[in-house]
Each structure stands twice: as C-alpha cells, then as structure tokens.
C-alpha cells in the first residue's frame, strides 16, 4: 500500500515489457493487453483515491536516494496531494479510453503504438507525482518522446512538420526550465539545501530579481505547454495531425502539465514574482480566450476548431490560477479535469466521424443527426459541456474561475474573459449546427452508421462524469480544497512579505482582511503551522559556503 | 636490448605509415589492415614502456587491445561482407548514404 503510487506509475512500463513478448502480428492481443494494463493501472490508482486523506499534506510519499553525482543529489521523491491527486486519476482514467479508441483507428505498427501509449502514461503520471525538481524534469521530457512518435508516425498528412514543431517548441521551453532549475539548485545550495526536493525550495527566500528571472524561465516553459496565447501555434498542428488517441491524451493530460506546472512549481516557488507577473499573464490568458474563440469560429477543420477551443479553455484555467485565491485555483483545477473530459470527448467524437468518412472538413458534413441519433446526443452533451452549460462540468470550473478572478485584482480581465463564454457558444454551436443539423444531402453521409457498442462504451463514462461533475462536484472540491488553501496561504504569506519590498503594491493585500491586522513587514500573520518563520527579506542570505 | 627510444621511433614510423594508409586507400579491407597496423604500433610502445618501467600493466593492456582488435576484425569484416552483398563493392566511396 505504501508504494502504490510507484506501482501506478510504473505499471504501464511493466505492460510494455509484457507487450515485448507478444508477436507484432497479433494485433488483437496487443490491444487487449494494453487495455488490460491501463485498466489495471486505473484500478490501482483508485487505491490512491480511497487511501487519500483529505488534508493538505503530501501523501504516499516515497523518498529514496537515486543519483548522487558530485554536488547534484537527485532523489526518487514522489508524493501526491489534493492538487495532483485528480490529475493522476484523470490520467489513469483517460488512458483506457484512449486505448479503446484506437482499436480500429490504428492498424499499422500496433505494437509500437501501444508501447508509446504506455510509455506516455508513465511519463505523465511521473510528472504529476514528482516532488523532486529533477525527477519532474526527467518525466517531463519522457512524455515528450512517445508523443513525438505518435504524431510523427501515426499522424496525418503533415505529420512530420507537426511532430517536429511540437517537439522543438516544447524543448525550447523545457531547456530554459532546466537552466532555471540548475540555477535554483545552486541558489538553494548556498542556503543549505542539499538536493532537488521541491518542498525545501518552498521555504527558500530569493530576492526579487532572481525570482523574476527564474519565474520567467519556468513560466515560459509552462506557457508553451499550456499553451498560452502567442505560443500556442504548435497545438492546432499537433492536434490535427495526431491520431485520435494522441489528440485525446494531448488535450486531456499533456496540456495540464503546463497549468499544473504553474500551480505546483512556478507560483509557490516564486510567489512574489508570480504576483508581479499576474496582470501580464492574465492579459495573455484573456487575449488567448478571445483570440482562440474568434479563430476557432472560422475554422474549417473540426479538429482544428477543437484545438483552438482548447486554447481558450486553458486561458480560463490560467486566469483562475492567477487569481491567487481559493475559488480561482479550485476553479482552475476543476477546469483542468473538465477540459480533460470534455475536450477529450470532443476529440473522440471527431475521431469517430473521421474513421467513418476520412475527412474532418465541416463542409463535408451536415444533417448527421438524422443518421446517427446516438452520436448526435452524445455530441450535443459534450458540446454543451464544452460551452459550460450549468449542470455540466464545464460550468462549475468556469464559474469558479471567473468568480475567483473577479474577487482578485483581475476584475476587468474577468469581465473581458466572461465574454469568451458568449464566443464559445457561438463557435461550438455553429460547428454543431453545420455538422449535425441541416439536410442530409451528401450521399456519402447517408450511409453512415451510428456508434457501435465499443464507441458507446468509450463515451458513456465521459458523459457520466460530465454530469456528475456538473451536479455534484463536492467530492472533487473537498479532496483538493486543503491543498489549495495551503497553496493560497503560501502565496499570500509571501506576498505579505513582499510588501516590505517597496516595489509591490500594498493593495495586493487580500480583500476582506482588515488592514490593521496585517502590518507591513510582519511576516508571521496567517502563516500555517509548520511553516518556518522567515527572516525579513532584507536579511543576508545564509553563508554561501555553508553547503560545502 | 636496444634502448627505449629506438622502439618508440619504430613505433612512430609504423603508426604514421598506418595513418597514411588509412587516409589514402579506398579499399575498406586495406584501410582496416592499416588500422591494425596502427594498433600494433601502439602495442609496441606499450610493451617497450612496460619493459622499460618494469611494470607489466602495459603488456596487459596490449593483451586487451588484441582482444578488441579481434572483436573489431570479426564485426568489421562482417560489416564489409554485408556491405559487399549490398553494393557489390568494397570501396568506401560507395558507402555514400550519408552524402548529401
């Protein structure tokens, strides 16, 4: 039980070993074994869910030495808290669905494909559970490779371009992050930190200039992955070219790496800098929401449209996260899950019709409702979930994000962002109308078959979750709440400290707390238990040579 | 026994000849033989130094180099055969897949 987290993470690798012994021609066996492996992984991950205590601490922690190379000490340090819990579950949940969706979609190199999927799963899970910066970086890169192959080998017409673009874009960001990470480590060494353990770095006091540089490097890496507005162009290409399962995983989990990175790393590590950059990032997020919505509106390719809608949704997530309050971050986390479910479902839906018609152009469709009623119903539910209709999951997240952002100092941003709600309705409904409504005049569409049992099996869990999260998100929120509260407190404490530095605006003080309760420069206010009292920021850093 | 230097000079000369051979010949097998020649030149240096310094480590090294050379010969010649099977030639100029 104690190492169930490792078990979950590395079960897919065991699955890969198993796959190696299966001849490549027995495709059915390969698929079924992979499916079984992912399902088992999901079941094992449910043990994490049931064993998870609702508190703010990291749980299922495993911390053993791994690599000790000179001054660098990397540890195999993993653990899970409310923030990463649901993302892990989401990953293990999406994987069987993704595997199931490839049963007929992928006919060539099935073995390799399945190996890629399983490797990807390990990479993603590892990144979510790493509590060691270096381990995180490794998993972060591990994810990249299978995805690269999935796009590059099983992709569409322009697959090489898309794969290389995806790879290089991400790589540029992650190399910057690597540099920042090493720099951070040396800063930590000067303060007496001996390894890459994330938690120690939370207590590390950095001066503003350092924070800004490091934050910029981290934020850039994560912004590419999210992707945020000017760095998003890899996404439509990658999505359009990737096979269905690739798109689903890319949308459902991989993009969450970026936002998760902000929540887990960039913000708590460099809180003051995060506060300083909040308006900037919020601006980009809001631009992303509106921009992506406008661009999505005029797309001709359904998959590209969904890809752009992803950009808009992730813009909401970013806005919520940078509200720095419980509501906003909770909304952001929920929206990550929601986006995983609904956009994943949308990609599956696109995959279904692509498999049938081998085209994704909107103009090739029309009137499918008549021919495919079950498909139409599911598509509609998912569409409205993506639009954020109350009662579906999309609403809860979006609402909390906007509410949280409105409460914070990002009020005007929120008002602009809220108009994205209108635009999302426009583009989603428009595409729905053009694909599903109207006359069934294309003769090729008149022979289309409705969803088969396998496809319905894929969609049903997603649809159930859409409604469950929409009507009863409480269990989800409850599990993540303490961790988010802790994060908010952590960030807030830091911002109070930052008030001693003149460059930070004192109005950043959380609303609702009387000003007298928080004299500037008094750091002990609101500090959670166990959080070491930090000296005033002006105090000199600890002896740089102490670590040696 | 001659002094150390004479062996070293011989070794240097053989090594240079080997180098020239590798660089000028196109026949892969001849190139391979030249490499063997260079290895042997080095071996000679090892043995000479070993003897001069009264330390057997150098000779042990020679032993290992011979092992490596044997392995190399096996793999290298296999490569040549397979190359020849594909190209009907043993000329390194025909190994031009990397050519732009």
């Amino acid at each position: 039980m104690s190492n169930v987290l490792s078990l979950t993470t590395f079960l897919p690798i065991l699955g890969v070993l198993l796959l190696l012994f299966i001849p490549k021609d027995s495709k059915g066996v390969l698929r079924n074994v992979t499916l079984a492996v992912t399902i088992v992984t999901f079941l094992v991950s449910l043990l994490i869910l049931t064993g998870f205590q609702t508190n703010a601490e990291f749980q299922f922690v495993e911390n053993v030495p791994w690599i000790a190379a000179g001054p660098f000490i990397m540890r195999y340090n993993i653990g899970i808290d409310g923030i990463s819990l649901w993302l892990v579950i989401l990953t293990t949940f999406i994987m069987p669905i993704a595997v199931l969706s490839t049963y007929t979609a992928v006919e060539e190199k099935v073995k390799e494909y399945m190996v890629c999927l399983l490797l990807l799963e390990t990479g993603m899970l590892g990144a979510f559970i790493s509590l060691d910066l270096f381990l995180f970086y490794i998993f972060w890169e591990v994810m990249l490779i299978p995805m690269y192959f999935m796009i590059g080998i099983w992709g569409g017409k322009n697959k090489i371009y898309a794969a290389v673009k995806f790879f290089i874009y991400t790589m540029v960001g992650s190399l910057l992050m690597l540099v920042a990470l090493i720099f951070l480590y040396f800063k930590g060494m000067q303060a007496g930190i001996t390894d890459f353990g994330l938690l120690q770095f939370f207590d590390l006091k950095l001066d503003m200039a350092t924070q800004i540089w490091l934050f910029m490097a981290f934020a850039f890496a994560f912004a590419i992955k999210v992707p945020m507005f000017p760095l998003h162009t890899w996404l439509p290409d990658a999505h359009t070219e990737a096979p269905t399962a690739g798109s689903v995983i890319l949308a459902a989990v991989l993009l969450k790496m970026g936002t998760y990175g902000y929540v887990r790393f960039a913000i708590p590590l460099f809180p003051e800098a995060a506060h300083k950059f909040a308006p900037f990032i919020a601006t980009l997020a809001v631009i992303g929401i509106i921009y992506a919505a406008l661009v999505a509106m005029v797309q001709e390719d359904v998959k590209k449209l969904v890809a752009y809608s992803s950009v808009a949704h992730l813009g909401f997530v970013m806005l919520g996260i940078f509200a720095f309050n419980t509501e906003g971050i909770t909304g952001g986390m929920l929206q990550m899950i929601n986006h995983g479910i609904s956009t994943g479902a949308l990609f599956l839906i696109v995959g279904f019709i692509y498999e049938r018609r081998h085209t994704r152009l909107i103009t090739d469709f029309g009137g499918l409702s008549k021919q495919m009623p079950v498909f139409a119903t599911i598509f509609m539910i998912v569409t409205f979930s993506s639009v954020g209709l109350p009662g579906t999951n999309g609403f809860v997240g979006e609402f909390l994000i906007l509410l949280g952002a409105f409460e914070s100092q990002l009020r005007w941003w929120t008002i602009v962002a809220t108009s994205g709600v209108i635009l999302s309705a426009v583009y989603m409904l428009w595409v729905f109308q053009r694909v599903m409504f109207g006359e069934l005049d294309n003769p090729k569409n008149q022979k289309l078959l409705d969803l088969n049992a396998r496809e319905i099996t894929i969609m049903v869990p997603l649809v159930v979750l859409i409604f469950f999260l929409g009507f009863y998100p409480k269990p989800f929120i409850d599990k993540m709440d303490p961790a988010i509260k802790k994060l908010v407190a952590q960030v807030r404490v830091a911002s109070v400290n930052a008030m001693a530095i003149p460059c930070v605006d004192p109005t950043q003080m959380p609303a609702g707390v009387p000003a007298s309760a928080m004299p500037p420069g008094h750091p002990a206010v609101n500090m959670p238990a166990g959080h070491p009292v930090v000296e005033s920021p002006a105090a000199p850093v600890a002896n740089p040579h102490a670590a040696k | 026994m001659e002094n150390l230097n004479s062996y070293l000079i011989v070794s240097a000369v053989l090594f240079s000849i080997g180098t020239i051979g590798v660089l000028t010949r196109k026949n892969a097998i001849v190139m391979f033989m030249c490499i063997e020649l260079m290895l042997n030149a080095v071996n000679l240096t090892f043995v000479a130094f070993s003897r001069y310094l009264g330390n057997l480590d150098g000779q042990i090294f020679v032993f290992f180099i011979m092992t490596v050379a044997a392995a190399e010969a096996a793999v290298g010649l296999a490569l040549f055969i397979s190359f020849y099977n594909n190209k009907e030639s043993i000329d390194v100029d025909d190994a031009n897949l990397m050519k732009w």
Partner: protein, 664 residues
C-alpha cells in the same frame, strides 16, 4: 408540503429521462405523451398543495428554504442546490406547471405523427424542469442553472426541425443571444458577491441572505453596475431591446414550444428575476429608469413591427416582445406586483393565442397537405373566414385577443391598466412618467390594432385558401381544444384576482399576496420617490377610460382596414412604401446586428487565423526554423558524406590538437 418542493422539478426530470432514454423504444405516442403530461401535471398538483398550504399561513411565514445538497463550496463561496418557496415563486410555479400541463396535453394532439415525438416530449419535460429550477432556485446559481437550462431547451426545441437550416440558425441565434444575457447575469452576480464580500464580509449569493443584507447596499454606484448587468441578462432572456431579435426567429420551433417557452414561461424569466431581486434593483434609480425606458421602447417598437407581419406566429412573437416590454415597464416604475400580474395574465392569453394559432396552422397544414399544395400554412394572407370551420378555436382566440387588447372585464385589462396607471403614478422617474405612460398607451393601441388585424385576417372575411383545400378545413381534436378552452377561460376571468382597488368590487388579492415579497423594495423606493401630489381617483378613472378608448380605436382601425375596406392596407402600403418596407423588415435590426457584430467577428476570426496566427506567429516560428535550416544548408557542405573526408578531418584534428600542445 413545503418539504416536498423538490418533487416539483423531479417529476419532469423523470419524464425527461424516461422519454429521452427509452422513448425511441416505447414508440407508442399515447404512452410517451401521457408520461410527459402526467409528470408535469403531478408537479402541478404538488404546486397546488404548496399554494394551499401557503394560503393558510400568515404572510410573514411564507418563506421556506429547502437545501437538497451542497453543490459548489470553495473558499468563501457557497452555493447549495436549494429551493426557495415564497409567494412569488409559488405564483410562478402555478403558471409554469399549470400552463405547462395544458401545453403538454395540447402537444399530444399537435405533434401527432411527428418523427421525433419522444424527443419533443423529452425536451419539453427538460424545459419544465429547468424552468422550475429557475423559479425555485434559492440562490443565483441555482437560478442560473435554470436560466441556462431553459436556454438550452429553447435551443433544442427551436432546432427541433433540425433538417431545416432556418431552424438551426434560429436555435443558434436564440442560444447565443441568451448567452449575451447570461454574460451580463454572471457579471452582475460577481459584482454583488464581490461587493458584499469585500466590504461587509458577507460572502453570499443566496436571495434570502442578500435580502437581509440589502440595507447595506448604497443607492446607485456599484449597485447600478450590478443591476444593469443583471438587466442585460434579463433583456437576453426576455427578448428586450437590444437582444430581442431571436424571439421572432424562435418561431421556427413547433407551435406548442412557442406557446410554452416563447410566450408563457421562459421569456418571462427576466421579469421574474427582476422581481426576485427587486430589493437590489430598486436601490439603483438609474437602472430602474433604464428598465422602464427599455421596456416602454420595446413595447412600442415591437408593436410597430407586429402591425406589418403576415406570418401568424410572427405577429404573436412580436406581440410577446411588446407585452414583455410592458412587464419591464412595470418593473422599471417599481410596480413589481403589477408586472408579475401581467406576466401571469399574459401567460394565459398568450399561451391561448399561440395554441390557437397552432390549431389554425394544424388545420391549414392538414388541408394544404391533402391537396398537395405548398402554400405557407402560417401566412395569414392564405387564411380568412376560418371562424365557421373552427368555432372553438375562434372563440377562445377571440377571447384572448380581447384580453390582450385591454377591453374591460378581461384579464389583460386589469393587468395592463395597472401597469399604465403605475407608470403614470409612481414618481420614481420625475416627469418621465408621463412619457412612459404615453408610450405605453400608444403601444396598447398598436396591440389592439395588430391583434384584431390578426383575428380579422384569419377568422373573418372570405376564405383565401385554395378552394379545393377549403373542404378539408375542420376543427382540431379535443386534446387540442380542451387546453384552448381552459386557457381561454383563464384569459377571460384570470384578472379578477388582481382587480385594481379603485374598481372596488374585489380586493386586489394578487398585490396583497405578493406584498411580503416586494414590501422591502417599495420601502427602499419610497426613499427617493418624488413625493408630489398623489394623482387623484378622478385622474385614475380618466386614464382608465382613456386606455379603453385607445384600445377601441385600435380595434376600430383594424376593423376598417381588414373587414370593411380590405383594399385600404394595400393603399396604405402604396402610400408609404419605405415605411412599410422598413417596418416589414423589422427595422433592419437583424441586418444591423449582422453588420455590427456578426460580420466583424467572422472577419476578425478570419484575419486572426489567416493573418495573425498563420502569418505572424507561425511566420516567426517557421522563420526561426528557416534561418536555422538556411545556415545548416551552408554548413552541410562540410559534411561530404565520404568516409575518407571524415577520416581526414579526424586525423587532421588529432594532429593539430596534439601539435598545439606539443609546440606551444
């Protein structure tokens, strides 16, 4: 009974699930329709029970909140799935479930033989559930579920004939315009929540709690902003200027849908919402004025368009917009209970009118179908003289028309006159009240005119339908006429529960009933109302008489133009071609919106995609790649691909490097 309030939305939900999931397999129309109707009727019974219980309680105990389960709790924010039962919501419950049951019943007949029969009833039940959630929601968020839920159902039902492009377009338009309103609603919600939270540490969106804390709200300022945002929400849902254009298009849906959603219930949600938060709205005189002005403007504006339409349902649609304008006028002048009263009476007579028109269309369609003609079954120019063929429909239609025109004795008179009188008498807006009254009166005149035009063109005169089809015209079956009769009766007598005091025959039960809900708002309002001389009874009698006269004038004009001198309209059109064209084309509002919003958005999308995304951003990205590739194109000459070249350079490198260390 109050405790069972959760049953009310539950029944339609069950109906929705049964019909939605298994309807296709059931196939039997009687079963499907029966389930749908039964479920909403059960809700009606529960609502009646609640009403009865509430009547038995003293006014101050008539508020009850039922928490079902916690919904979203995060940080300070708390929203439960909770229902609020108070006099206002009970009125709405009665209207929704009552009218809803009748329309369900009607639909069984009307939708007979349609392909997606089960789908229709599933949607209708879903709609009822959403509407009931909207009405019952004890906090803004539950209300918002209903608020968007009804928008969704409206989308689904307008797009019911999805194979028609116009239906799809109309559905989308309705949803998007509603979304514009929802945007306003959300911002309003955020503003109120944030203001209470940050200033008074009251983090709530619960109506009861906000009401309790409403004395903290300032007059104007942030409240104006919030309420204006809410009002944007209301204009979207209730089809007011500037977001009204979706409602006429929504007539693409089946007629029962138009009756239920786009006349009786959903479109009144905006009015209900203002009533629900009257204590907030009244705190902002500016917003009240905006509401009144927008309401009055919509009333007259839609009425003018209504005079020139030929599609029977479109006339009714514009009439609905216009009547909603009256309701907003009432809300804007602080006559909350009058507004809700008009909401109720309007639900009766407009539902009846729509169902009646549905009956007519049904008959027309049937007749035209028999002779395989492709004439438009909804165009009034093809109708005429139907009163003989369809007596029941005619009578109920006529009663409702009289009611909507404001002829004394019928329900519409009481409510409309109350609104006009309050617009005149309530002095929130200074001297604007006279103007508002004037506009309202003229709109009432137009209403009488176009409604009677409708009646005359449809039921009187010569039958203009294809003579072969004439013999096929006959009265609709009972399942259609029973709801018509019930609603017609309600349209006739429903007004007596809210009789103006001045008439003195019956006490104004209605206003009395809503007293506890709006007392607080009226109290706040009185703090800034101009305390001039209260208009006397004589003036009230005079105005009442005047409004009756105005209505009669409208009817008279309609009679002259469409019964006596049937060539008059043609002459009129010939005399003012431009005016007619503009009015007929709805003042070109749709085109204007296309020009201002839709086309620029599309153009912006195209530009941002093709211009910015592809050219600029990807241009930079690919540009970097191209620079790298260009450089490597130069450097690749170094890599000849010949083994000896590599060997050379390697040897050379070794020699040079060794040489450097040796000779240095």
């Amino acid at each position: 009974m109050f405790d069972k309030v959760w049953l009310i939305p539950l029944f339609p939900l069950i109906g929705f699930l049964i019909n939605g999931l298994f309807g296709k397999k059931i196939k039997n129309e009687a079963v499907i329709g029966g389930i749908g109707t039964l479920m909403i009727f059960l809700s009606f019974l529960v609502s009646c029970g609640i009403l009865m219980q509430m009547i038995g309680l003293p006014p101050e105990q008539r508020v009850f909140e039922k928490v079902l389960f916690p919904w979203i709790h995060s940080g300070n924010f708390k929203a439960d799935m909770a229902f609020l039962v108070d006099p206002l919501s009970v009125i709405m419950l009665m209207v929704v479930t009552g009218v809803g049951s009748l329309i369900h019943l009607y639909s069984i007949g009307y939708m007979h033989g349609e392909e997606g029969f089960y789908r229709f009833f599933a949607y209708l039940n879903l709609f009822c559930m959403s509407m009931l959630l909207l009405v019952l929601g004890s906090n803004m968020l539950v209300m918002f579920i209903g608020w968007e839920g009804v928008g969704l159902c409206s989308y689904l039902l307008i797009g019911y004939y999805f194979h028609k492009k116009s239906a799809g377009d109309a559905a989308k338009k309705a949803f998007v315009m509603n979304r514009v309103g929802d945007f306003g609603f959300l911002i309003g919600l955020f503003t109120l929540y944030w203001w209470f939270g940050s200033n008074h540490n009251i983090w709530t969106i619960n109506f009861v709690e906000i009401k309790a804390a409403s004395h903290l709200l300032p007059f104007g300022g942030v409240v104006t902003f919030a309420t204006l945002c809410f009002f944007v929400g209301a204009t979207g849902k209730s089809a007011q200027i500037p977001l009204f254009t979706w409602l006429p298009d929504a007539m693409e849906g089946p007629t029962p849908v138009s009756a239920l959603i786009h006349a009786a219930t959903m479109v009144t949600a905006g009015v209900y919402m203002i009533g629900r938060m009257s204590f907030v709205f009244i705190k902002s005189p500016e917003t009240m004025m905006v509401i009144a002005v927008v309401g009055a403007a919509t009333a007259i504006f839609a009425a003018t368009i209504g005079t020139a339409q030929n599609d029977i349902k479109r006339v009714l649609a514009y009439s609905t917009v216009s009547q909603l304008g009256f309701m907003f006028l009432a809300m804007g002048v602080g006559a909350f209970s009058a507004g809700i009263f008009h909401l109720m009476t309007h639900a009766f007579f407009k539902a009846c009118l729509f169902l009646g028109s549905g009956s007519v269309i049904h008959a027309m369609h049937h007749a035209l179908h028999k002779i395989h003609a492709h004439d438009d079954a909804q165009d009034m120019r093809n109708m005429g003289g139907l009163r003989k063929a369809m007596p029941i429909t005619f009578i109920t239609f006529l009663v409702s028309t009289i009611a909507i025109s404001g002829i004394p004795g019928f329900s519409g008179f009481f409510s409309k006159d109350e609104i006009l009188w309050m617009a005149f008498a309530n002095s929130y807006h200074g001297n604007l009240n006279v103007v508002l009254w004037g506009i309202g009166a003229v709109a009432a005149c137009f209403t009488a005119f176009y409604m009677f035009r409708l009646v005359f063109m449809t039921f009187f005169g010569e039958c203009r339908i294809n003579s072969k089809a004439k013999s096929y015209l006959h009265e609709s079956p009972l399942v259609i006429t029973i709801p018509l009769m019930v609603l017609g009766a309600l349209a006739a007598v429903g007004g007596y529960i809210g009789m103006p005091k001045i008439l003195g025959m019956l006490p104004n039960y209605f206003e009395h009933w809503l007293e506890p809900v709006f007392a607080l708002a009226n109290e706040y309002g009185s703090t800034y109302a101009h305390h001039g001389a209260h208009p006397s009874h004589a003036i009230e009698w005079g105005l009442m008489g005047l409004s009756v006269v105005i209505a009669l004038i409208g009817i008279a004009i309609a009679f002259t133009m469409y019964v006596k001198n049937t060539e008059l309209p043609g002459k009129f059109v010939a005399a003012f071609p431009t005016l007619h064209r503009v009015v007929y084309n709805k003042w070109y509002i749709d085109e204007l919106y296309d020009f201002i919003f839709v086309n620029p958005c599309k153009a912006a999308g195209q530009f941002l995609w093709k211009g910015f995304d592809v050219l600029v951003i990807d241009g930079v990205v690919n540009g970097v790649a191209n620079v790298v590739m260009g450089l490597s194109g130069i450097f690749r000459y170094v890599q000849s691909g010949y083994i000896y070249n590599y060997a050379f350079s390697m040897a050379l490198g070794v020699v040079v490097m060794l040489g450097y260390y040796i000779f240095k």
